[in-house]
């Protein structure tokens, strides 16, 4: 019987490795090809960092650094807006109006079903007003990014809330004297930390990689800047080095965010145990 289980486990593990390898290759090969192309020299078979060097030496306009800065700021603002909007909503829906779960889910998933170009057509008049009434800054993109991030952030938060007995915990906290804000902020949110972190990662990834809407609404973020970098040079390799740079930038940033979030969680648990 044990042998049978071991054989079965080995088979499942082998299947797992095959699936991971196939999908890994599917995602990695084009990326590796892109990086390889960006490293090709001017003559066949030679290697060069000149495509990457042109990113570093690019003076603008628009300046590369301001693109990085504006995108990071956008990522932070969008994360905050999405969390401020969705965290109380998912908790409230779970607690008080559970019958609205499907409706809220459908509303949050709606942006997935609308192509970016259609969104831009609809948003153009709104952004005309925003430009006239409020500000010309690209930071105003957070409105549309918050909408775009809804489906991903909602799923992450809903999944984070799955394992939490929201009703009992909130009733326990209420009976001890907690108001609703305290219930949400000090009792429920700390128990859905992973969901909040995932929602932030997904929202951040979306903002860091967004090009279409920013470009079509005539704003300049990191992706748009990189597009200008690649367009401003006759070297085709720059097109690929900028794409690789954008990808690596987002990847490294998300990795740091994820690591910091997890490390903080572990640290706070350790400090509480040793108290």
């Amino acid at each position: 019987m044990t042998g049978l289980h071991a054989r079965r486990r080995r088979r499942v593990n082998a299947f797992r490795y095959v699936v991971f390898t196939v999908f890994g290759l599917f995602f990695l090969l084009p990326l590796l090809a892109m990086i390889r192309f960006s490293l090709e020299g001017s003559t066949g078979g030679s290697w060069s960092l000149s495509s990457w060097g042109q990113i570093a030496s690019y003076a603008g306009p628009p300046p590369l650094l301001s693109g990085v800065e504006i995108t990071l700021e956008l990522a932070v603002i969008t994360c905050l807006v999405v969390l401020a909007l969705l965290v109380p909503t998912v908790i409230w829906v779970r607690l008080r109006v559970r019958w609205m779960t499907r409706l809220v889910e459908a509303l949050c998933l709606l942006p997935l079903t609308i192509p970016a170009i259609v969104l831009v057509v609809g948003l153009a008049p709104i952004y005309r007003v925003i430009r006239q009434q409020f500000s010309l800054s690209a930071l105003q993109l957070f409105w549309v990014y918050a909408v775009l991030a809804l489906p991903y952030a909602y799923r992450a938060l809903a999944a984070g809330l799955e394992g939490v007995d929201v009703k009992t915990l909130s009733e326990a906290a209420r009976s001890l004297g907690a108001g609703w804000f305290t219930v949400i902020w000090r009792v429920i949110v700390p128990n859905m930390r992973q969901g909040v972190l995932n929602a932030m990662l997904l929202t951040g990834a979306l903002v860091l990689g967004e090009f279409t809407i920013a470009y079509l609404l005539l704003y300049t973020n990191l992706q748009v800047t990189l597009f200008y970098v690649s367009r401003g040079t006759p070297n085709a390799g720059v097109l690929f080095s900028t794409s690789s740079a954008a990808l690596l930038f987002a990847f490294v940033l998300l990795l740091i965010l994820s690591y910091v979030g997890r490390a903080r969680g572990r640290q706070s648990e350790r400090s509480k145990v040793s108290k």
């Binding site: 915990l169 209420r174 009976s175 907690a178 930390r193 648990e269 145990v273 040793s274």
Partner: protein
């Protein structure tokens, strides 16, 4: 804090077309522990939730120490509550859980820690102060929940089937512990349970509920020995239903003449309710039959006797029951305690 009087008057609550509470009246004396007992859906948990402020009543009034709190939100009622489900905050240590209510009341850190440790000592868990909920057993979690509820010196303690998720042994231990602590702190307590043994063992008074009303409220002895209605008699403890003939305030059941709890019962055929303890084995008696099953209960045993047209349960000391294996012929009689007509 010493106990306060709690009064629920004419409470009504509906869920759509379902009536959960139908004009419920209940008063708890200061420091008293009242257990609400009843089948699922009888309204006992709804009563507790209305008292806690976790739900709103459609009608009626809730007063605590004379103050009307019917429309006071739950976080302003100052009531401690222990839930059926484990309710410790998973991201906090045991100490932080117990001190949570005090923190909300802006107690100084030293005072919070002192009080938390005092409460943990009361439930015997000082050693676990630095642990998290997932590092505790179910019984320990409920004891911490009790300490947390008591830490805020609640006016009223509400226990919503706190033992139902625990195994039998832990359940009995914790039940006794809850009673000891309740007597020690003197907090007026409402305990909701569907377990009759638990209710009878722990409460000063037991309220048996049915269809949103209290069918009978009395001491455990009253409830068990002098049930007011056939529903109470059948819900609390085991009952034999035997046919008899009512005449002049007593009933004749197969030759045993028994006084009626309600002497005004009209004459004629009736079904009476007889406790198994009232059925005793005698060398020769009016009821004769064959033992068909013996159930060992510890110090006592229950035998099932086939009387031909019906069966009857009798509860005997185990020493007597062992002499009556299945298949033995037996004679029984019924002790002449007042009986209820179904």
């Amino acid at each position: 804090m010493t106990g306060v009087e709690v009064s629920l008057r004419g409470l009504h609550r509906r869920y759509g077309s379902v009536v959960a509470l139908d004009g419920l009246d209940l008063t708890l004396a200061p420091g008293e522990l009242v257990a609400l007992l009843g089948p699922s859906g009888c309204g006992k948990t709804t009563t507790l939730r209305l008292l806690a402020g976790l739900e709103d009543a459609d009608g009626g009034q809730v007063t605590v120490a004379g103050a009307d709190i019917t429309h006071v939100p739950s976080n302003k009622r100052g009531m401690g509550m222990v839930f059926q489900a484990y309710s410790l905050f998973p991201h906090m240590t045991v100490r932080d859980n117990v001190a949570f209510g005090l923190k909300l009341r802006r107690a100084a850190r030293a005072e919070r820690d002192r009080r938390a440790m005092e409460m943990l000592e009361l439930v015997g868990l000082t050693e676990q102060a630095g642990r998290y909920a997932h590092q505790l057993s179910g019984g320990q979690q409920q004891r911490v929940a009790l300490a947390r509820a008591l830490a805020i010196s609640p006016k009223v303690l509400l226990l919503d089937e706190p033992l139902s998720a625990l195994d039998a042994k832990v359940r009995a231990q914790l039940r006794d512990e809850i009673r000891r602590i309740q007597l020690e702190v003197g907090t007026t307590t409402l305990f909701v349970t569907h377990d009759q043994e638990e209710a009878l063992a722990i409460a000063d008074r037991v309220g048996v509920m049915r269809d949103g009303r209290i069918e009978q409220l009395g001491t455990p002895t009253d409830i068990y020995s002098r049930p007011a209605t056939s529903f109470v008699a059948e819900f609390v403890g085991l009952t034999n239903r035997l046919h008899g003939t009512v005449a002049a305030g007593s009933v004749n059941v197969r030759g045993c003449v028994l006084p009626l709890a309600d002497p005004a019962t009209p004459d004629g055929q009736a079904t009476v309710l007889v406790r198994p303890e009232a059925v005793t084995v005698v060398p020769s008696g009016p009821l004769t039959g064959t033992v068909i099953a013996v159930t060992f209960l510890g110090a006592s045993s229950r035998i099932t006797v086939d009387l031909g047209d019906t069966t009857v349960l009798a509860q005997l000391p185990t020493s007597e029951a062992t002499a009556l294996p299945a298949g033995s012929a037996v004679a029984l009689t019924i002790r002449p305690d007042p009986v209820l007509v179904a």
